[in-house]
């Protein structure tokens, strides 16, 4: 949650040049891990002393991934996504004070406005699954990025499949 709340200062071109020489787009979330590590086969060993329980790293370790994927133009949660979201729900049940944001995304093969709505649909699909699995709706906020923040840069089926996603963002 603690991403900096930068206001939309609308500035003259002069100020703007100065502003842009420093670090850019600080108010956007970091892109999720490009290649989510698969869930470990064996029961995870006791968490190493570097992973703080309830942290994002802990979430990634326990749930396996923060990301579920969707078919083209669909917001249906398929069986693979269901098992991922179930693991996320189990983790969230263990840490009832953690609030999350679900980001919904679309691939580039849609118009801008529609994809904003589609990303919102996907984020809400994931949210609804978590709520049905017992997570309080008040702990989950959603945001759609439409096609604005792909993780895979290609213009091919493989990249589009990676970009059609909902990402459960746990605070660091």
């Amino acid at each position: 949650m603690a991403r900096s709340m930068l206001n939309v200062a609308l500035v003259s071109a002069l100020v703007l040049t100065a502003a842009c020489t420093k670090k850019k787009v600080e108010d956007l979330p970091p892109p999720p891990a490009a290649a989510p590590t698969p869930a470990p086969e064996a029961p995870a060993p006791a968490p190493s002393n570097t992973t703080i329980p309830g942290s994002r790293a802990d979430f990634m370790q326990q749930a396996g991934t923060d990301t579920v994927h969707f078919a083209t133009d669909s917001s249906d949660v398929d069986s693979e996504a269901q098992s991922i979201l179930s693991r996320q729900a189990q983790w969230l049940a263990k840490f009832p004070n953690v609030a999350v944001t679900i980001e919904g995304h679309a691939d580039e093969r849609g118009t801008r406005e529609y994809n904003l709505a589609l990303g919102d649909r996907r984020a809400n699909s994931a949210k609804n699954f978590l709520v049905q699995a017992g997570v309080s709706a008040s702990r989950i906020s959603v945001i759609s990025y439409g096609k604005e923040r792909p993780v895979a840069a290609g213009s091919d089926e493989g990249s589009w499949a990676q970009n059609r996603r909902a990402v459960t963002v746990v605070p660091q």
């Binding site: 850019k24 979330p29 118009t111 529609y114 649909r121 923040r149």
Partner: protein
């Protein structure tokens, strides 16, 4: 910034050049705008002389004379309907000939039409640009206009002159003296930096309006051009804002927790129509441009978005996937009587009603993304472009030209393009960086 009062344009030329004699206009010289493949009309636009070279903040009046004719040349060439003669084929026009052309010379030049004029220092530090259009073969004056502007606005006088020529020869409304607001883009595909920017229709006078810290999308002009509505991710909350170009102030339109997007002003500027997602369902709403409680216009469980008013404000065209894929629908401005109008193969998105009221431009999604037009009842569909991803059409003020953005396959880099209704005159619109989401503003007063 330097918000200048709008110039008192269009002065009477006779008052400045007393010796002018008005000829009755003959209509024998005309450009066929619907021909498409017809040859562009050869036109001569020599440098405009000055009676005496006077220094101004925008350069001296002799230099301005050349630059004014350059801007007119560029406008008319870009319309695709005119073929301006190269500079090597033009004669130096003395001031005494500004309104008395050497028809013998111009007749031999191959030009059918001739634009002459002058640039003269006027009272109060202003300049006067005289603009005359001649039928070379008929040896008659077709029209004349004079424009008095502060020197900083010399380009507007040139655009007004080009508009005068275009309108007189095509019978169509003017469009060169207008602005475009769009989203300037840079950076890698996964993390594009997007800034609102505003510029003249030909790319000149470019200015950034936001600093790129937040994603900004889909800006649209208010009819008075003093305000722009757009969507911003400020504070990680994607919502619509209204931005005042003169003051730089911006204001949240609807203060509530849901995502609001795809805003557009009503033609009278009193309302903003927009989309709002509530629990994954997107519908169309409208709200007073000054704020207040939104009124819900659609209730379908599908995605209803990209609303655009008819120019008389009585109807709204929008896209909805209520039937499965995205299709175009028209409803009354109060949300009643929603009817689907698109029935071709593929999906249809981002409809925009023509300022003339007779057509709707759209993005068609099939194998690729194309920009096309159809009648307001869905008849007469015509596809105008064919790129990997052409999207987001916006109409010129006269409803003859469409600006859109084209995204590259792989690179994700977007650029602005324009195409006319014949579909043959497709050309890039110059921007300093990449560009998307263009919105063409109305003709300046």
């Amino acid at each position: 910034m330097n918000r200048l009062p709008l110039p008192r344009f269009c002065i009477t030329l006779g008052a400045i050049v007393a010796s002018l004699t008005a000829f009755p206009a003959h209509a024998q010289l005309e450009v066929d705008i619907n021909g498409g493949i017809a040859q562009p009309m050869p036109i001569a636009i020599p440098s405009m002389p000055t009676p005496s070279t006077v220094s101004t903040p925008a350069g001296d009046t002799a230099a301005l004379g050349q630059r004014v004719s350059d801007v007119i040349t560029n406008d008319l060439k870009n319309s695709g309907l005119f073929n301006p003669l190269p500079k090597s084929a033009l004669a130096n026009v003395p001031f005494s000939q500004a309104n008395a052309p050497d028809f013998i010379f111009w007749g031999q030049s191959g030009a059918q039409a001739l634009v002459q004029g002058f640039v003269q220092a006027a009272a109060d530090g202003k300049i006067t640009v005289g603009c005359y259009l001649y039928d070379v073969l008929g040896k008659v004056e077709l029209t004349r206009q004079g424009f008095e502007v502060v020197p900083a606005q010399w380009r507007r006088a040139a655009h007004k002159c080009a508009d005068t020529v275009y309108s007189r020869l095509t019978g169509e409304g003017p469009y060169f003296d207008s602005k475009v607001v769009y989203v300037s883009e840079t950076g890698p595909k996964q993390n594009r930096i997007k800034r609102l920017a505003i510029m003249d229709q030909d790319g000149a006078n470019h200015r950034f309006l936001t600093n790129g810290q937040s994603i900004v999308l889909t800006p649209r002009f208010a009819p008075n051009q003093q305000t722009i509505t757009y969507m911003s991710y400020a504070g990680d909350r994607p919502r619509i804002y209204v931005y005042n170009v003169g003051t730089g102030q911006q204001r949240l339109v609807v203060d509530q927790p849901n995502m609001t997007f795809a805003p557009r002003f009503s033609p009278d500027g009193k309302y903003v129509v927009f989309s709002m997602s509530v629990g994954g369902n997107t519908d169309i709403y409208r709200v007073s441009a000054s704020g207040g409680t939104p009124q819900r216009l659609t209730t379908s469980p599908g995605i209803d978005t990209a609303a655009s008013y008819s120019p008389d404000g009585s109807k709204i065209v929008f896209e909805s996937d209520r039937s499965g894929g995205q299709q175009l629908y028209v409803m009354n401005a109060d949300g009643s009587n929603q009817n689907r109008i698109s029935y071709g193969g593929g999906r249809y998105a981002t409809p925009v009603w023509s300022p003339r009221g007779d057509m709707i431009a759209f993005t068609k999604l099939g194998g690729g993304f194309a920009v096309g037009v159809m009648g307001t009842d869905g008849s007469g569909e015509k596809i105008l472009t064919n790129g990997w991803q052409d999207e987001g059409p916006s109409w010129s003020p006269n409803g003859r030209v469409i600006m859109f953005f084209r995204t590259g396959q792989g690179s994700g880099k977007a650029d602005l393009w324009s195409v006319d209704l014949t579909g043959v005159n497709e050309r890039p619109v110059p921007t300093p960086l990449d560009g998307s989401d263009p919105a063409w503003g109305p003709l300046l007063p």
